[in-house]
Every structure is written in structure tokens, then in C-alpha cells.
């Protein structure tokens, strides 16, 4: 039964990801702009021969349905096509930009969980007291502060002012990246046992990760607080307290575990959002990630890259929600019985 459920979910995921690419494909093609003009210079775009050659080269002269069919056929072979702007396979672009994003958003997600859940618990158990108010104010700030502003403020303060943070970018200028294995600098430098590079990579990552985490921490804290408050009002919590179980244990073992279910859902989606890219943070911290790549592809009407990224982003979201659903089995065994 469980296997069938998982299979059904996976098939649904793939179909939904494809549907997303179809929608984006159609929308991108209804824009009244010619992709050739985003790629060719003034002189070249005035030469009909050059333009025709360009259209043929990138399949833009084919009917729409054929262009989409070519994308699907490629996808079936695991090939996302070739980017018009970078002139190399979209997969190569993704392989280059994804590790920077994965590394950064994973650290941000880690920070989020590390900070958001305890803060939420603190706010819940100290409901309506000073700590609660402070935490809620902090959340409000984190959620509502514009990212570009926060990013620049952090950079100006810690890099420009206090001079404790390193320069924007993944490493210092001209620093040699660790030998490529995964593309994740933290992992690769560990594999190479290069501690200096590991430290440098981590140091470069902290500030942007904190900025990214600022908004998600707010969300996670709020959800933890609300959910924990609800759980603390449940009958079984009252029963536990009546039995004389220590309050810390009541909160941690009886209430928190159940209260975390909505937090996991939200956390999964927040992580997917971080992975999907964060253009502004990447811009300010010169972070060579997927966010900027996707943005550049979109403004240049780079159809293969747009479609490829749509598919990947949709897949990431769907896989994350799948993982979240499956994790319920562990967190709340009742889900399986239901």
C-alpha cells in the first residue's frame, strides 16, 4: 500500500512539473518580444541572413508545438537542451550554479531550524511576556525587511564597517577553489582536507546565509509558536501535567513533537524556496547561484534555460513536499494508520 502511495505521488510530481513547463513555455512565447533581439547586437540583428541563421540554429523557426516537443524529447533523455545565452547545455549551467545555491540555502535552512524552532518554543512557553514580545518583534522584522536592504545593511556593517566579514563571493579574489568533486566548496575542501579553504568558504557563506535565513526564521518561529500553543492546550498535555511530568519534558516530549508537524511542512517549502534561488541576495553578495542565472535567462528570453529551470524548480518543490509528506510517517505514526 505504502509503495503504491509513493509511486502515485511520484508520477503526479512528474506530471505537475511538466504542466508547469508547459504553462511557462506558453507564457514566455506570448510576450511580444523577439528572443533574437535579446541575443544579437544591433548590426547583426539588422542582417536578415544572420537572423535566419540564428533562428534555425536555435530551432526558433519551428512551430511552437514542435519546439515544445523537442524540449520534451530532450527531457526524456535527461537533456535540458542548450542555453541560447550561454551557448552550452542547460545541464552544464545548472551543474555550475546549483552547488553554490545548494550550499548556501542548506546553511540558511540549517540556521533557520536552529534559531527558529527554539525561538518559537521560547515565545510559546513565555506567552505574552517580554521574551514573547521580543521574539515576535524580531520575527516581524525578519519577515518584513526587504532582502536587498537587509543584505546590503549586513554587508555594510560586517564587511564595510566592522571589517569582520570577508568580501562578497564564494572565496577571496583569486583564491583557488578546492578540487571539483561535488562543486560544494565545503564538501570539496573537506574531501581534500584543505582546512584553510573550508574555513574561508564557510566564512564567505555565513553573512548571505544569515540574510537568507532572516525571513524564514520569522516564518518558522511564528508557526512553531502558534502550533505549540495549540498543542499545549490539548487534553493529553493536561493529562501529562496531572501525572506530574516535569514541565520541560511535557513541552519537549509531549507537545513539541506534535507541534512540529506544520513546521516541517513549512520548513520543507521554505527550503525549496531558498533552493529556487534568491536573486537579490545573490546579486549583492556576488554569489554565482541559480537565482541570478534564472533571472538572466528570463529577461533574455532564453527559452531552453527558462524551461529547464522551470522543470527543475517545480521538481524541487514537488520533491520537497513529497519528502515532507513522507516524513510525517516518522513524526506522526497516526498518519499511516489514518
Amino acid at each position: 500500500m505504502a509503495l503504491r502511495y509513493v509511486l502515485k505521488r511520484v508520477v503526479a510530481c512528474v506530471l505537475m512539473a511538466l504542466a508547469a513547463t508547459l504553462v511557462v513555455f506558453l507564457v514566455a512565447h506570448t510576450v511580444p518580444a523577439d528572443p533574437v533581439l535579446a541575443q544579437l547586437g544591433d548590426k547583426a540583428s539588422a542582417n536578415p541572413e544572420t537572423v535566419a541563421r540564428f533562428r534555425t540554429r536555435w530551432g526558433l523557426d519551428r512551430p511552437l508545438w514542435q519546439q515544445y516537443a523537442i524540449f520534451l524529447a530532450g527531457l526524456a533523455r535527461g537533456d535540458l537542451g542548450e542555453s541560447i545565452a550561454s551557448r552550452r547545455p542547460v545541464m552544464d549551467d545548472v551543474r555550475q550554479y546549483a552547488p553554490a545555491t545548494i550550499e548556501l540555502s542548506t546553511l540558511a535552512a540549517f540556521l533557520t531550524a536552529l534559531v527558529g524552532v527554539p525561538l518559537g518554543v521560547l515565545a510559546a512557553v513565555r506567552r505574552d511576556r517580554l521574551a514573547d514580545h521580543l521574539v515576535r518583534l524580531l520575527c516581524l522584522f525578519g519577515v518584513s525587511a526587504p532582502t536587498f536592504w537587509l543584505a546590503f545593511l549586513a554587508l555594510a556593517l560586517f564587511y564595510g564597517g566592522l571589517e569582520i566579514a570577508p568580501s562578497p563571493g564564494r572565496l577571496d579574489a583569486g583564491a583557488v577553489p578546492p578540487p571539483h568533486v561535488t562543486g560544494l566548496f565545503l564538501a570539496d575542501s573537506l574531501l581534500a582536507r584543505n582546512w584553510a579553504t573550508f574555513r574561508a568558504a564557510l566564512a564567505h557563506m555565513i553573512l548571505p546565509a544569515v540574510v537568507l535565513a532572516a525571513s524564514t526564521v520569522g516564518l518558522v518561529t511564528r508557526t512553531t509558536r502558534a502550533s505549540l500553543l495549540e498543542t499545549l492546550g490539548q487534553d493529553y498535555v493536561r493529562t501529562a501535567r496531572a501525572k506530574g511530568v516535569a514541565e520541560a519534558l511535557v513541552v519537549r516530549r509531549h507537545a513539541l513533537r506534535n507541534a512540529l508537524l506544520p513546521v516541517v511542512t513549512l520548513g520543507g517549502l521554505a527550503y525549496a524556496e531558498l533552493l529556487a534561488g534568491t536573486v537579490l541576495t545573490e546579486t549583492i553578495f556576488s554569489w554565482p547561484g541559480l537565482g541570478r542565472y534564472t533571472y538572466q535567462s528570463a529577461v533574455a528570453l532564453d527559452f531552453p534555460a527558462i524551461l529547464g529551470m522551470t522543470f527543475l524548480v517545480a521538481a524541487v518543490y514537488l520533491v520537497m513536499s513529497l519528502i515532507v509528506d513522507l516524513s510525517y510517517v516518522v513524526l506522526d505514526p497516526r498518519v499511516v494508520r489514518r
Binding site: G41, Y97, A173, G174, S286
Partner: protein, 541 residues
């Protein structure tokens, strides 16, 4: 509701605290050591290189790569900063017109070696230019006047022109005409044959390496991140001053400024006018500048079917005389700009600031009103002004458009602002569907004919102007004229005609400004295409 009691401190927050401390320690530990001027071996430049898509000379056609290209590759002839009229020798030590003016013959310098150690020969020039033409990528467009390349002897090469009435020499100073090591490029899958469009496979290698004679060698490029150049040890002149040049990608000007101030960058290329003006107080920095060959201009259609008023010349002229040009340059560009009379930027043969004063438009409201009355539009008229969400030298088009709108309102002309994205605008504009567009022009190579020809050919179509044959002939005559003084005379006549026609209104020709640290010197900017010749830059004494 039960009263909640505080949770004991032995749980998570402490472990979290330890982790945070570890992270902070890592952050503090990686603080870079300060850069000292003495013994400076690496030059670090902060540039927005997000437009870079290749470093293959036969394919590269974007805005930022020429600075890198020019450090790794050299051309037959070049231009020195500030002089875009007279070409100077580089790989060629002399040249002359031969075969009755149908071909240019170049005498190559002896003893020049590529970074690979292979000697430079005429064969390499032939291979490079033929590959450029046959790969048929964008840069091939500006090589259209090369009909064939002939090797006369190992150090003599002849370029036969397709049309001897069209210019070639100045264009050869562009990095597009980089000469590369044919042996190395062939070994990496390069070919210059007729089938090069499909058969050539050298681009991937050329994106990560260079095969030129330049003072530096490209050793790595990570897209949207950084690229590294290393000193070419066998360079034919004195070796370059730095062991390494790192070009650090940064598309945020505020972050560039912070990095420059911290000493992590030696130069910041993309600062805004406000940021540059705020640098005056900082003694450790200096601003270097040069007038660019770029310009921001406004096109006005002649198509009465798009806008009845603009279809009359007097109405277009009235519009041109109602703009406060000095206000734009002083108020919006912080005075860091000039303005050409029409479609040839100041600095090229035939275009000077004096000429702009003499024949260009000037703000003259009574004249504008008189012209409006002449056109039967005493009550004014309205039109749509389209522009992209972009900026010139850090000043957004939005601001310029608003200024024009308020200027024109003074004579009763209403500009309806119509901002849109770049690609949509180009699509609409190229099809001649725009009434008026605020847009940008930057050079392929410092040859005035490229501007003049565009203005009466493809750009004229976009503004629905049917160019008279006499004017076309005049431009052809100017293009083929070898004597700069005579050529300037022809171009002067051409510019007068364009000003009278009033389809193009030049607004701003910005000054390039780069902020550099005082730890480096000889940072001489050029407008010829490559911003700065990195070979000139040295550590400060």
C-alpha cells in the same frame, strides 16, 4: 489554558549557542590580511561581468569582455587613449594601401611570440581572420569588408577589401581582430575553413584559456564569479607589471564600493555618479575618467501614420529645441558627459564639442514655439516616449525621460512616458512601430563610418525616414576618404543634414569613470572598446 513555565536551559538553545559561536569564530578567522602597495603582485578589478558569455575572439560581442580580451590578445593596429582618429602600430609595424587601393598590406613585427612560444607569422593572421569570418558568429558582421586574406611572405599579410570605398583600417583595432596562435587553436579543434560554422570546436577551450601574444594569459573563467589572467612570461615587450590580474564579478555597485574601500578591490568599474562624487574625501582613492564613445539618444519618427504631428519636420525640430541639454548633463550626469551634434560621437573624425555648439540643437524656447506655429501646432501636441528599464553611467532612463517630459511641457508638447523591458522595446522599435524611443548606442570599433552608415540605413528605417540619395553618396564618400581632414569635412555636411532632419536627438555622451586605489597607477582609460589596457597599469611607486 495552563500557565506555561519556562523551559530549563539545558535544552537546545545552549547547543545552538555553541554552534553560533563556532560560526562566528570562522567568520572572524577568515578576515583577509590588508593589501600592501609594496610588492603588490596581484591586481584585482571589480567589474559586472554577468554579460560575458565567451572569450573566443571569433564569437565575443558583449560589453565587458574586451578589457580581458585586450590583455590576452593583440591586434595588427591599435588606438591610444583619447585619439580615435589615428591608428597606431601593434603587431604590424607598418602598413600601406596596395593593388590600386583595393587591399591593405601589413608588415608584421619580427620576434613576436605567442604565449605558447610559437612565433607570430602571417599564417596566424590569415587563420584568425578567416576563422572569424567563417565561424559566422556576430563579430563577423564587422569583418564584412575583408574579401580575402593573403600571405605574401612569413611576415607580410594582405587584406583584400570587398569594397574599397568602405573603411577597414580603424576597424582592425577592435579586439574582434585579435591574432591568435593557429597551431594551438587548431590543436584544440579550431578550424578556419568554410565549414567552420559547424566544424570549429575550439570555443570551449578559448573560454578558459587564451592563445594570443598579449601581456597576460587567461587561465580561468568562472561565469558570474571571476576570471584570472596571469603574466605572459615570454611577452615581446617588457613583462607586465603584475603576476596576476583577477577580475571579480560584482553587479552591485554598493558592494563594489565597499570592497574598494576595504582594499579587496584595486578598481571599481560600475559605481554610480553619486557614489563617485562621494569619493572625493577619500585620500586613498582616485577617479580616472575618459569620455566614452557611447551615447544616449532619443529617436523621433517621421511616420505621420504613427503620430501626425511628428510627421512634420518643424514639429520634430521644435521638440529638439525645447530640451534643456545642459540641465540633463549637469543635473542628472553630475556634469560627467558631453553631447555630439548628431550620430557620430565626439572624439571620432568629424565630431567635436565645438561642432555641437555650432550646428547641434540648443535649448531655445522661443524658436521651439515659432517652429510649432510654423507646423500649424501652436497649441502643442502629444507623443509616446518609450524606453527600457535601464541606466546610463548609473543614471536611470526613467529620470532622463521625466526630465524631458517636464522640459517639453514648457512649449505645450506632452510626452507620455512608456517604460518597458529591453527586449520588447527592441522588438517594437526594430519594426518601426515606436513614435519615440530613448536608447543607447555603443561602438563596435572606433570608425565613424559604422555610425554614419547605421544612421542612414538600419536606424533610418526604424524612424521611417527615407534617406535621399545625395546623403547616402556623401556618407559613402566620407567612408572611403583616406585623408582625415577631407573626411571630417564630408562628415560635417552629413551631420548638418541629420540635424536638419531631426530624427535623432543626442542627449548624453557619458564620461567613463572608474575609481581606483592609489596603490596602482597608470590606469589610463580608453573609449576604443576595451576600457583600459591592463598592460599599462602598474603598482604605485
Amino acid at each position: 489554558m495552563p500557565t506555561a513555565r519556562p523551559i530549563p536551559s539545558s535544552t537546545r538553545p545552549t547547543r545552538f549557542g555553541t554552534l553560533l559561536l563556532v560560526l562566528l569564530a570562522a567568520l572572524a578567522g577568515a578576515r583577509p590580511s590588508p593589501v600592501t602597495a609594496a610588492g603588490k603582485t596581484t591586481l584585482v578589478l571589480g567589474i559586472d561581468i554577468s554579460d560575458s558569455r565567451t572569450f573566443d575572439p571569433a564569437r565575443q560581442f558583449e560589453y565587458s569582455p574586451p578589457t580581458t580580451m585586450r590583455a590576452a590578445y593583440e591586434t595588427l593596429v591599435t588606438m591610444t587613449p583619447g585619439d580615435y582618429v589615428h591608428v597606431k602600430p601593434l603587431l604590424a609595424k607598418s602598413w600601406k594601401l596596395v593593388d590600386g587601393g583595393k587591399a591593405w598590406q601589413f608588415q608584421l613585427r619580427e620576434g613576436v611570440k605567442f604565449a605558447s612560444g610559437n612565433p607570430l607569422t602571417a599564417e596566424d593572421v590569415k587563420f584568425s581572420f578567416e576563422r572569424l569570418i567563417n565561424v559566422k558568429d556576430q563579430p563577423a558582421e564587422i569583418a564584412e569588408n575583408i574579401a580575402s586574406v593573403e600571405v605574401v611572405d612569413p611576415l607580410t599579410v594582405k587584406l583584400v577589401m570587398a569594397d574599397k570605398s568602405q573603411p577597414l583600417l580603424n576597424i582592425l583595432s577592435s579586439v574582434t581582430f585579435a591574432v591568435y596562435d593557429s597551431k594551438t587553436v587548431k590543436a584544440q579543434g579550431g578550424t578556419s575553413g568554410k565549414d567552420a560554422e559547424k566544424a570549429d570546436k575550439a570555443t570551449a577551450w578559448l573560454d578558459q584559456h587564451s592563445a594570443g601574444t598579449g601581456p597576460y594569459v587567461l587561465t580561468s573563467w568562472v561565469r558570474n564569479s571571476e576570471l584570472v589572467l596571469e603574466r605572459n612570461k615570454g611577452y615581446w615587450r617588457a613583462p607586465a607589471a603584475f603576476e596576476r590580474v583577477v577580475i571579480r564579478h560584482s553587479s552591485d555597485s554598493a558592494a563594489q564600493l565597499l570592497a574598494l574601500r576595504r582594499g579587496d578591490l584595486d578598481a571599481a568599474f560600475n559605481l554610480t555618479p553619486d557614489q563617485l562624487n562621494g569619493l572625493g574625501r577619500d585620500a586613498s582613492l582616485r577617479i580616472v575618467s575618459t569620455t566614452s564613445l557611447d551615447f544616449l539618444y532619443m529617436t523621433v519618427t517621421s511616420g505621420a501614420e504613427l503620430n501626425k504631428a511628428l510627421g512634420t519636420r518643424a514639429a520634430r525640430q521644435a521638440l529638439a529645441h525645447a530640451i534643456d541639454y545642459d540641465g540633463i548633463i549637469k543635473g542628472l550626469m553630475a556634469g560627467q558627459a558631453t553631447r555630439p551634434a548628431t550620430f557620430i560621437p565626439v572624439g571620432l573624425d568629424g565630431s567635436t564639442e565645438a561642432l555641437t555648439k555650432e550646428i547641434g540643437y540648443r535649448e531655445d524656447l522661443p524658436l521651439a514655439k515659432k517652429l510649432l506655429t510654423e507646423a500649424g501646432l501652436a497649441g502643442g501636441f502629444s507623443f509616446k516616449l518609450t524606453y527600457a528599464k535601464a541606466a546610463i553611467a548609473g543614471t536611470s532612463y526613467d529620470v532622463v525621460a521625466q526630465k524631458i517630459q517636464s522640459d517639453l511641457a514648457r512649449v505645450g508638447i506632452t510626452a507620455e512616458l512608456d517604460p518597458m523591458d529591453q527586449t520588447t522595446l527592441r522588438t517594437q522599435y526594430k519594426e518601426g512601430k515606436s513614435q519615440s524611443v530613448l536608447t543607447f548606442w555603443n561602438p563596435d570599433a572606433p570608425e565613424p563610418y559604422l555610425w554614419a552608415a547605421a544612421s542612414i540605413q538600419r536606424v533610418a528605417k526604424r524612424v521611417r525616414w527615407t534617406v535621399p540619395k545625395e546623403l547616402t553618396d556623401l556618407v559613402t564618400r566620407a567612408g572611403g576618404e583616406p585623408d582625415p581632414a577631407k573626411q571630417a569635412g564630408y562628415y560635417r555636411e552629413y551631420q548638418k543634414a541629420l540635424v536638419d532632419q531631426a530624427n535623432y536627438i543626442m542627449l548624453v555622451q557619458p564620461v567613463f569613470r572608474v575609481a581606483t586605489s592609489r596603490t596602482v597607477s597608470d590606469f589610463d582609460l580608453t573609449a576604443a572598446g576595451w576600457v583600459v589596457d591592463l598592460y599599462d597599469v602598474k603598482p604605485a611607486e
